[in-house]
């Protein structure tokens, strides 16, 4: 049934419907509403789960690693500094091949102290072996969280469901919350391939020398390589039950576009509006939303972006010294393609600065009017006097 639901609570509802057995988390704005609701579900019996209160995010991840290793479905949520503190254990979760699902609310890192949206926190974890999915609206958050458990348990890798602070986490909008029976058909109980079992004792995470370590890493890479195919199959099943699907990427009006705007997160929704408005004035512009960031959907991207002579990647993140992170990945994906598509890189909306339809119009017009892309990322919407 459709109800007006906060983005954070779209995650909480999905965790309830997924019959998660162990949740451990440490509160941090803007993630707190997610675990607050789950904590209530656990205490009032709505969920048959253990909520483990801990003293830090590092311990929260440690607790869900233990739970997952014991063979139960486990979930946590965090943001920004909390995710940064988890960094060491993110590697442990993926290395141990544990299908943990985590909601990550994008929030800027300090200083200056900032609680608003910015993707640099989650993208800084791109090499930890976690699958990453970036969401556009509340419905996608709920649906992606449900899909995440299926995906994680199929490939034995942890999944991060990423949502923008406030523009998604604290926004109320109509969301269809499915019934438990249908979700149970989509998501059966977790059936672990391995678990801590006193009747069958074995060691986990022992020392692994140069003779073994590399193959284990190769296996993680192979699991990542399988993820897009598995996601497509999971989404096909999700679609047959719920009538919704999202794809690894989503192309909107790209076929005849002169410029394709490449976006992720809630900026994709605003970009759809901007593209629609520009189309009405005769501009040939399209949009490609990247939902799956790890593994990077290079094949899907190569099937769409070369249709246009120009591509403008809009990054709400920055890798200092290298520029927009999605832009780097898009350029790498297109390097294998023999076409002439030029990639323009823009940085916008850091630390919660608003990205509006006017932002996309400006980026579109700049890209259209600039014959060749600058070598560096172009920063959009800077206050002149604040330039260093």
């Amino acid at each position: 049934m459709k109800q007006v639901l906060e983005g954070s609570h779209a995650v909480s509802e999905a965790v309830r419907l997924a019959r998660v057995q162990v949740v451990s988390a440490y509160p941090i704005t803007p993630q707190t509403h997610i675990v607050e609701a789950i904590s209530e579900f656990c205490s009032d019996g709505t969920m048959d789960a253990r909520f483990i209160c801990v003293e830090s995010e590092h311990s929260a991840m440690a607790a869900v690693i233990g739970a997952s290793n014991a063979g139960v479905r486990a979930f946590t949520a965090t943001s920004s500094h909390g995710l940064a503190l988890m960094h060491e254990l993110l590697h442990w979760a993926s290395g141990a091949r544990l299908p943990i699902v985590m909601a990550e609310v994008n929030r800027a890192l300090a200083p200056g102290w900032n609680i608003w949206t910015d993707q640099t926190d989650s993208l800084a974890q791109r090499d930890t072996g976690w699958i990453q999915l970036y969401c556009e609206d509340g419905q996608e958050v709920l649906d992606t969280t449900l899909e995440a458990f299926r995906l994680a348990e199929a490939v034995n890798l942890p999944v991060m469901v990423v949502l923008d602070a406030f523009f998604l986490s604290h926004t109320f909008e109509p969301v269809d919350v499915p019934d438990q029976d249908t979700v149970d058909r989509f998501l059966p109980p977790f059936d672990p391939r391995f678990r801590l079992d006193t009747k069958n004792p074995c060691a986990f995470g022992p020392i692994t020398g140069p003779d073994r370590y590399m193959e284990i890493r190769r296996d993680i890479q192979a699991a990542m390589d399988r993820a897009p195919e598995v996601l497509a199959a999971v989404e096909q099943e999700f679609f047959s039950l719920f009538g919704r699907r999202y794809g690894a990427v989503d192309a909107f009006l790209c076929d005849d576009a002169e410029v394709i705007l490449v976006v992720s997160g809630t900026a994709a929704a605003t970009c759809r509006q901007a593209v629609g408005d520009l189309r009405k004035t005769g501009e040939r512009v399209g949009m490609l939303k990247i939902r799956l960031f790890r593994p990077f959907p290079a094949t899907e991207i190569r099937a769409i972006l070369p249709k246009a002579p120009k591509v403008a990647v809009v990054d709400r993140n920055v890798s200092f010294g290298a520029g927009g992170i999605f832009a780097q990945e898009v350029k790498a994906a297109l390097a294998l393609h023999k076409g002439n598509t030029a990639v323009y890189s823009y940085i916008a909306g850091l630390g919660g600065r608003d990205i509006t339809t006017a932002t996309f119009q400006e980026i579109y017009l700049t890209t259209k009017d600039t014959p060749t892309p600058p070598a560096e990322s172009v920063w959009v919407g800077l206050a002149q006097e604040e330039r260093a």
């Binding site: 609206d137 109320f172 909008e173 900026a267 509006q273 629609g276 608003d354 509006t356």
Partner: protein, 187 residues
């Protein structure tokens, strides 16, 4: 699409008012989207919340810069915050104030409505005399401005959403709905 901006103070139920209205319009058949403008919330500090209503799916997810309606929960905010900032010409401004505003200069070119939400809240025992909870009264008054959703739906939502003093909150919304004064265009 209709865009509404709320001005209130931290702890005054501004965000709750926007959520109650969102749920009311959703039940009436509209697509809705509401969110607060996030500061680090402090009791008494000026806060803003946004509400969008539309017939079709709402795509844009940025803040509201050119609202069709502005709701001001505390009249003293007018000297602190530019409450008509970006308000569309002819747009409505709904004020909580004890009587008709004597100086209508700041509202020139807009349409003005007022309601004594503080008086209603204090009489019904909502909040305290120094910190009255005016949010449900303001939602009732707002429905008269739009005529887009029935009062009964709002009252049902208040029953569902407000745990403290639901009966008094329903009464506050109904009274404000009746008593709000629509002065119309300010020349």
């Amino acid at each position: 699409m209709h865009e509404i901006r709320f001005h209130g103070r931290g702890g005054q139920g501004t965000v709750v008012a926007s959520i109650i209205l969102a749920k009311t319009f959703f039940e009436t058949g509209y697509q809705v989207q509401t969110f607060p403008l996030f500061g680090v919330e402090r009791r008494g500090a000026p806060v803003e919340a946004y509400l969008r209503l539309a017939e079709e799916k709402i795509l844009v997810r940025s803040n509201i810069y050119e609202p069709d309606y502005v709701i001001v929960q505390d009249p003293k905010l007018i000297s602190l915050v530019d409450v008509t900032r970006g308000l569309k010409p002819g747009g409505w401004i709904l004020l909580n104030t004890p009587g008709p505003p004597t100086d209508q200069g700041p509202f020139e070119g807009f349409r003005l409505a007022w309601v004594n939400a503080t008086g209603i809240a204090v009489e019904l025992g909502l909040g305290t005399r120094t910190f009255p909870m005016v949010n449900t009264a303001m939602t009732g008054a707002f429905l008269r401005l739009t005529e887009m959703a029935p009062l009964d739906t709002l009252l049902e939502i208040i029953t569902r959403e407000i745990q403290a003093k639901p009966e008094q909150n329903r009464k506050a919304a109904a009274r404000a709905n009746k008593e709000v004064q629509l002065l119309g265009p300010v020349p």
